[in-house]
């Protein structure tokens, strides 16, 4: 989240799209309801009328996979009606930058498309520059080559009629949403966007989220209380895992992983990855300090601080790629902890088959999951599976301590309530043992492949690791005396500091001071900054980009919900006058006056300091709608049917369906009563009682067409496989009228599997191995099926 959960209460308008927050975040949803109590309008856009829609002031349906058209339509509406926040857009975004006249967009492709290479040459995606290299500006926004005019022309095609024809949203319902949310473009008003997997699991998901960022910048909603683009994380510590390098393409703190080709040496990495301006100029300090934290005394200036110990990517190691490689027999062993891919992974038939090709599999969980039991799953002959499976008992969340980072980037310490039963052990214990035993195994080895393990610093105790010691290392320290650094501002690139994750620096600023444990709450009538509760990265800043909450002169757009302001008389430690003051930690150099050079550039992580309406990603610098890879209709916006850079896998089990055979759109989702693959919740009788079986939601119209009655058993089939479910015929799902065509959609929760108290088929049997062009997240929110009565 750019903002945080409690801050949602400060919004004047809330757009929940690509998320069913009431269903999946029932506890935190109270902040949404509190905003409503203060008069905020709650808007929900979703393929079906959900638990969230039930509480919404405005609900609009849309066909899954067409969100860019809906948001693009809102952008077009706002620009056409002149409802954007002009001063914010002119001063804080790259709207006035003048683009190279060679930049173009024609029939679905941006300039530079190479159909042979299936990639873009980005040469024309650039700004015209002044003699000093800075971008040319036209603050009147009239030059036809400004980003603003380009954006306007690009989205001019996204009319309300187009929204109706592509999304199936009745025109007046779309306009009602656009009108309500556009009101936050007024100075001093704030609108927030909340999204989740309904946005990330598409073949053009990154561009979809970019569209929401563009919308929010046009309305001046970034950096302000009650604003932002807010990703709702689906588990208590997903944010923490991501920060700590869960993703295949980043090291802790979002430092890119080195690749064999581009980064053979530390110098090459730093040269290539360190920008010339913006806060990332400090990247060398963060990376060298990370290497010092990991390799300690073995990291010296002479050996590039152990840079050679880091694995170098030679291919993509995304989730989908790993399972494809496993299916191709290229992976021998697999440790699974806190995950159940046999149910959660797309195209589960392929993924379960892939597990058969492993030599060994370790699963740590509370119950025997479908992944641990894949060898006795439906259609599998155990006699023919040679994978050796180890099932280790893991502890539950109440049986272990540690820090959890929530969606709002808050680190909060959690204490252990009870000991785990029997042989169950915490995740920390497991990792600690693994490290100790690998080090013992390789002790004395001179083989280069063993050196990264031997060089690793590992001193957290013998049995259960001391997790506060780990957190102190993550925070960082000066090597000479081992004392914690106060923040990442004190990190260096000469090996004199160590830091396990620069963005977390400050969580442990002094010995014995674990800020994740602090518990001082703000009064309820405040803005809810809660600076004394836990620690938010970076540097306890609660709302990112908060320089933009103040106008170019440094005064808040909204005085009642002010975050920071420039006080010319406030004294600095050195006696000089003038600094940023307020309830939040400024996302800005504290002494940089608004009228100084760069004093009006609020996005300090970017080289030019301006919010990027125009921002190159692999499939273009502006978002464009393409149909999902599996879609029942032709793309009405261009001749390009789907994202030309979507990642489509081609193993024999990676089949794609055509709309003749599979005419119905399908989407997947979660329920309040179950968590993810149900590995815990399908073993809890009270939860099973409420949601006992897999079902398939469909409209009355589709049910009638197919002769299906509410409660009937049905078969849902895609090109990948078929599942049985119970039909849930409801008025909450409506067919989509796209021009003269009617398109049906069904929805299937993905919690079920063949183990546990409540057994059922897995929705992911149906979903494809198709990945987003930038992240390779699977497209499981829009694909094709057919449905029949069982």
């Amino acid at each position: 989240m750019t903002n945080h959960w409690i801050d949602v209460k400060n919004a004047d308008a809330i757009l929940i799209m690509g998320s069913n927050a009431a269903e999946n975040h029932p506890i935190a949803f109270k902040w949404v309801l509190e905003a409503r109590e203060h008069g905020a309008v709650l808007i929900n856009v979703d393929p079906r009328f959900s638990r969230t829609s039930a509480l919404a002031d405005l609900y609009a349906p849309l066909r899954s996979g067409t969100d860019i058209v809906f948001l693009g339509g809102m952008i077009n509406y706002i620009l056409r009606k002149n409802l954007f926040h002009r001063e914010y857009v002119v001063e804080y975004t790259n709207a006035p930058f003048v683009l190279d006249p060679a930049f173009d967009f024609k029939d679905g492709y941006f300039s530079g498309w190479d159909p042979q290479k299936k990639a873009y040459d980005r040469a024309s995606w650039k700004f015209q520059t002044e003699a000093d290299g800075t971008p040319q500006l036209d603050k009147s926004l009239k030059d036809p080559n400004t980003v603003f005019q380009r954006l306007r022309r690009h989205f001019a095609r996204y009319t309300p009629e187009m929204v109706e024809g592509v999304c199936g949203t009745p025109k007046d319902e779309f306009v009602a949403v656009a009108e309500a949310f556009a009101k936050t473009g007024a100075s001093g008003k704030a609108g927030t966007i909340m999204y989740a997997m309904g946005w990330t699991q598409h073949s053009k998901a990154t561009q979809l989220i970019r569209t929401s960022a563009i919308l929010q910048m046009l309305l001046g909603n970034i950096g302000v209380a009650g604003g932002g683009v807010n990703a709702l994380r689906g588990l208590s510590n997903v944010q923490g895992s991501t920060d700590m390098a869960l993703l295949f393409n980043v090291l802790p703190g979002y430092l890119g992983t080195p690749t064999k080709k581009d980064h053979p040496t530390l110098a090459a990495y730093l040269e290539k990855e360190t920008p010339k301006a913006g806060y990332w100029v400090n990247k060398p300090k963060f990376l060298v300090s990370l290497l010092k934290a990991w390799y300690g005394e073995a990291a010296t200036r002479d050996n590039d601080f152990g840079y050679q110990y880091l694995p170098k990517n030679s291919a993509s190691y995304s989730y989908l790629d790993l399972f494809e490689a496993m299916y191709a027999g290229k992976i021998k062993g697999f440790i699974v902890t806190g995950q159940n891919p046999a149910v959660s992974g797309p195209n589960s038939t392929l993924e379960r088959k892939a597990l058969e090709r492993l030599e060994w599999l370790v699963v740590r969980d509370l119950f025997e999951t479908e992944t641990a039991a894949f060898w006795k799953g439906p259609g599998v002959d155990p006699a023919k599976v040679s994978t050796e499976v180890f099932l280790l008992p893991a502890s539950a969340h109440v049986e272990r301590e540690g820090s959890y980072t929530n969606s709002g980037r808050w680190l909060q310490w959690k204490w252990k309530a009870v000991d785990p039963p029997g042989d169950a052990r915490s995740d920390g214990w497991f990792v600690n043992q693994l490290a100790h035993r690998l080090k013992a195994l390789y002790a004395g080895s001179k083989a280069p492949k063993d050196q990264p393990i031997l060089a690793l610093t590992w001193d957290y105790g013998k049995d259960e690791p001391d997790l506060e010691k780990v957190l102190a290392e993550v925070n960082g320290y000066t090597v000479a005396d081992g004392k914690p650094v106060k923040s990442f501002a004190f990190l260096t690139d000469d090996g004199s500091t160590a830091c396990g994750n620069w963005i977390y620096s400050g969580v442990f600023p002094a010995e014995g001071q674990n800020r994740a444990k602090s518990r001082k709450a703000d009064p309820p009538e405040s803005l809810g900054i809660n600076a004394g509760w836990g620690f938010a990265w970076p540097v306890n800043r609660r709302i990112l980009y908060n320089r933009a909450s103040a106008d170019p002169k440094g005064q808040p757009w909204n005085r009642e919900k002010a975050l920071i302001r420039w006080d010319p008389n406030a004294e600095l430690p050195d006696g000089k006058k003038g600094k940023w003051v307020g309830v939040d930690v400024p996302d800005f150099r504290p002494d940089l006056a608004p009228d100084a050079k760069g004093g009006g550039n609020p996005f300090i992580m970017l080289a030019d300091g301006k919010g990027a309406l125009f921002a190159p990603l692999v499939e273009g610098p502006l978002p464009e709608h393409y149909e999902p890879v599996e879609s029942p209709v032709k793309n009405r916006l261009s001749g390009v049917q789907f994202n030309p850079l979507a990642v489509i896998y081609k193993a024999d089990l990676d089949k794609l369906g055509n709309p003749k055979e599979f005419p119905i759109v399908a989407t997947t989702y979660r329920l309040t009563e179950h968590l993810h693959t149900g590995s815990i919740t399908r073993n809890l009788p009270w939860l099973v009682e409420m949601m006992p079986n897999l079902f398939c939601e469909m409209s009355r119209e589709l049910a009638e067409e197919k002769g299906i009655k509410n409660g009937d058993a049905v078969v849902v089939r895609s090109a990948r496989g078929e599942i049985r479910a119970i039909a849930y015929v409801t008025g909450r799902f409506k067919p989509f009228k796209l021009g003269d065509r009617v398109v049906h959609e069904v929805g299937i929760p993905w919690h079920w599997g063949f183990m546990g108290l409540a057994k059922g088929d897995s929705a992911n049997v149906l979903t494809p191995h198709v990945g987003d062009a930038n992240t390779r997240i699977q497209e499981s929110k829009a694909f094709l099926v057919d449905v029949r009565k069982a």
């Binding site: 009431a22 506890i27 949803f29 638990r51 039930a54 099973v688």
Partner: protein, 252 residues
């Protein structure tokens, strides 16, 4: 001072935390269920399910869909039919308004089951007695709110002095109507001389399965003359039989 639960349906997200919290606090087992074409499960209140959330789909005249949720359980009436027909005194009023049930005294006659105008009392085949929500007297008399209220994440359920909650509920109805919720109304203020569960509804009561005018039903179960000494003799016999049956079953 009379206490009450206020159920504000306009804040309910249908998460069913209340339904589970009730089971957890009172140690009620899960029932075997099957998905029957609604999120709602188990199908009815029962000896093992004292509180459950109803899921009600409605379509407005303009065709717009609505999905209403109602946390449903015993209403703890002032004029409580169940209590009036209970021959043993197993059902009784706590001074603060809860209709409590003393399992030790219940004889399993089930008159209360048919007397209850809301259908919230169920005969428990296993114990041979009846069961229902008792408003967590163990918690309330220790200064806590009932388990369902404590767990509610959105404030749809609240607990406190009935007078105060009544004031809040009335304000809420005015507020909702002003916002365009024309159907908003208060339920429970005067029904059966006052319920100890107050509802802010967004539709007519019958949409939620609540009787428009709940009747004090003792008379329809028991002719008046039976409410006398004769009754207690009959009841005594019933109780004895029930007791024997239970004893017998226990030895199996």
């Amino acid at each position: 001072m009379a206490k009450a639960i206020l159920v504000d349906t306009s804040k309910c997200i249908g998460c069913r935390g209340c339904q589970v919290a009730c089971k957890q606090w009172h140690g009620l087992e899960a029932e075997p269920t099957a998905f029957r074409g609604s999120y709602e499960n188990p199908p009815d209140l029962s000896a093992r399910t004292w509180r459950k959330v109803k899921f009600i789909e409605t379509a407005k005249q303009d065709g717009a869909t609505r999905w209403r949720f109602l946390s449903d359980a015993c209403k703890h009436c002032t004029d409580a039919s169940c209590l009036a027909v209970c021959p043993t005194g197993a059902l009784f009023h706590r001074p603060w308004g809860a209709v409590d049930l003393d399992q030790e005294i219940c004889n399993g006659c089930r008159y209360c089951v048919s007397a209850c105008p809301f259908g919230v009392i169920t005969f428990n085949e296993r114990t041979g007695r009846v069961d229902k929500c008792i408003l967590c007297p163990d918690r309330v008399e220790a200064g806590l709110a009932p388990a369902c209220v404590t767990t509610c994440p959105t404030g749809a359920l609240s607990f406190g002095d009935r007078d105060q909650l009544l004031g809040r509920a009335k304000e809420r109805v005015v507020q909702l109507r002003a916002k365009g919720e024309k159907g908003a109304e208060l339920y429970g203020e005067r029904e059966l001389s006052g319920l100890h569960v107050l509802y802010v509804l967004q539709e007519r009561p019958q949409v939620y399965g609540l009787p428009e005018k709940p009747r004090f039903a003792a008379a329809s179960v028991f002719p008046g003359f039976l409410m006398s000494a004769v009754a207690s003799v009959v009841m005594g016999v019933v109780a004895l039989v029930a007791f024997r049956e239970r004893g017998g079953r226990g030895e199996e």
